[in-house]
Amino acid sequence: MAILQAAGFNAVILYETTGFKPADLPRTPVATMDTLEPDENDIFVIPEGMPRIMRRLKDHLGRRFVIALSWHYVFSTLPDGLDWRQFNIERVMSVSPVIARLISWSMRLPVHLLSTSIDHHRYYQPLETKALQIAYIKCKALHVDKLRNLLGARNADYIYKIKWLELGGVSRDLYAAEIRRSSVFLSTSVAEGNPTSCLEAMAAGAIVAGYDAVGGKGILFGDGPGQNCLLSPNGDYVSLAYRLAPLLDDLIKNRMERWKPMISRAAQVTAELTDDGEANALINFWRQYAGRQKHAVTMESPAISFAYALTDDGATTTSVPPLNGSPLRLR
């Protein structure tokens, strides 16, 4: 939103109902669907998990884009026998090559791959020594208990000498500080879009271990010369334990030399994910596609609306672009 406004676009967040105010997001211009009077200049950008909203808006004036950030929400929320084409969706924005291929393959809609960024002010390699700590996000810790039990049976030091830190409900600053302190970041979610939390951990010098969660394909590499993390196939925490054990042995014995190339390659991956890169890609996209129609987007006419609402399962889904260049992610 901030990028678009700074570039002269008229963009607003569109809530489903009046009065909804998320507590932890930046102030942005807002509109609500219940008072909306769309015209043909408007473009609605609807998150992938909201087919109900797509259906509601499908015959309105204006154009409809989808922003797809989670591959799993795409078909898990669609009614049988329908897809976005029936909702008059014109094109799709995404930041994930996996999602782009999925949409293009299945619905044959035009998909535009945008860039993403991470907050390098928060996620950087600290000068001080890392703690004997494995961090993981509570809501993404699908197999952590089983993995911990398995590793603990192999060697009790793995769970008693190393701190396993579950992160949930903490501020973004505190979260980032713990990631910077951690030696390992564990990600055992099996369904992620762009693996932002893994990329943040990589930027912070933590070794990422877990599953690629499908969305991490092409970004997270668990083998080969480009290895930048420890991966096992989705759901296979047994193989993950085998892969983690040598790392944990070295952590406990403070002999991390052989892991430094992997840490370095991971940092290189994240170095490319800058604010400028994200802003340029986003602006280029909108310059090309917002002006494609007869009526160009102007400052006088609210033109680009980002739908924002609660999904059916209660999880918050947002397509808010970053205010200060850092991704806004709800944990």
Binding site: F75, D83, G235, V238
Partner: protein, 350 residues
């Protein structure tokens, strides 16, 4: 449950030096559930085969009176009436650490049987493992599970043979239909996969019938599997892949999620490929991989997939009742003859 508190306690190690009874009493603990389960069928089958081979073996249900009438008639005992003796061996399934704990100081010996890799640490209290419950050794039917147990707990493991019923599962090309079947209770993503494939090509759901299998007798289930063109295995944590082997034996193409410990049987690439697998939960890649098969089914020409189906038939062919019986009886004869005494005394951890 009666527990003889005055009886002498024996650690796993101490048995190697004890005089062995002539006839062990073997009890396979079995949960009191009516759910159709390949694991429970296997427990009953072990007892059946052992009884026929002259062993004193029984199924051990938890509460008096419970019995699976749909499974072979075998000797049954009940845990709530059991009195353990020094020649008692209780075989406890992997998902019951609480019962292992309750029995850990009883007279007799305790083995675990691990048929599902995911249950082992799912149900384990933190900081515990089977060594703490005086489990002496572990029976399994999978090299992958054996490796996991051995790696993590350092217990001796024994990989036994397995079988499928080739009288029920055999190729019947005359009956083949453009059907995709899946076990409904295990198919976590069947609906989503179907929607995704329908978006790609509506024929994939309109000209191919998707059948969720539920509450069928085994003969009725087997008939559905034999008829189908594809058996979809979408379980998030499959133990030994019995249902996949049954489908393979039926000439039905197996597709689905790759589980953690079935690598030696289910091969998804190379010249020995016998099925189509993607990582657990990755129904996107599965849809991509299924598309050419679905097109072949619609066109009625599966020639492109004959090699895979042939490899699958060869894989399943080895799993005969004779093979299972031979390995099972050999194991228990070795136990009876105390041939593992030395192994009991030492860790086999890698």
């Amino acid at each position: 449950m009666k527990i003889n508190k005055t009886a002498q306690l024996h650690s796993a190690q101490s048995y190697a030096t004890l005089p062995q009874p002539v006839n062990d009493e073997i009890f396979y603990l079995c949960p009191d559930t009516e759910i159709p389960s390949a694991g429970i069928r296997r427990l009953y089958r072990h007892v059946d085969l052992l009884s026929r081979a002259g062993f004193e073996a029984r199924i051990l249900h938890l509460r008096s009176g419970f019995l699976r009438k749909d499974l072979p008639e075998v000797p049954v005992a009940y845990l709530d009436r059991l009195s353990c003796r020094s020649n008692t061996i209780i075989v406890i399934p992997e998902g019951f650490p609480a019962i292992m704990d309750a029995l850990k100081q009883n007279p007799g010996r305790r083995f675990a049987i691990a048929l599902n890799w995911d249950y082992v640490y799912k149900s384990m209290p933190e900081g515990m493992n089977w060594r703490a419950f005086n489990i002496e050794r572990v029976l399994t039917v999978s090299q992958g599970i054996a490796r996991m147990i051995s790696w993590s707990m350092g217990l001796p493991t024994h990989v036994l043979g397995s079988s499928i019923d080739h009288r029920l599962y055999y190729p019947d090309e005359a009956a083949r239909q453009p059907h995709i079947v899946f076990i409904a209770r295990k198919a976590i993503h069947a609906d989503i996969l179907k929607r995704l494939l329908a978006a790609r090509n509506p024929d994939f759901v309109q000209r191919i019938k998707w059948v969720g299998l539920r509450e069928l007798t085994e003969p009725a289930y087997a008939a559905q599997v034999r008829q189908a063109s594809i058996f979809l295995n979408l379980s998030a944590a499959e133990g030994f892949p019995t249902s996949c082997l049954e489908a393979m034996a039926s000439g039905t193409l197996v597709a689905g999620y790759r589980s953690a410990c079935d690598r030696e049987l289910l091969r998804h690439q190379g010249p020995d490929q016998n099925c189509i697998l993607t990582p657990i939960g990755d129904y996107v890649s599965l849809a991509f991989a299924l598309e050419p098969v679905l097109q072949s089914i619609i066109s009625g020409n599966l020639n492109h997939h004959r090699q895979m189906l042939s490899n699958a038939l060869n894989t399943a062919r080895e799993f005969t009742l004779e093979y299972e019986t031979r390995t099972l009886v050999a194991f228990w004869k070795d136990i009876r003859a105390n041939r593992f005494a030395e192994q009991t005394m030492q860790s086999t951890r890698e």
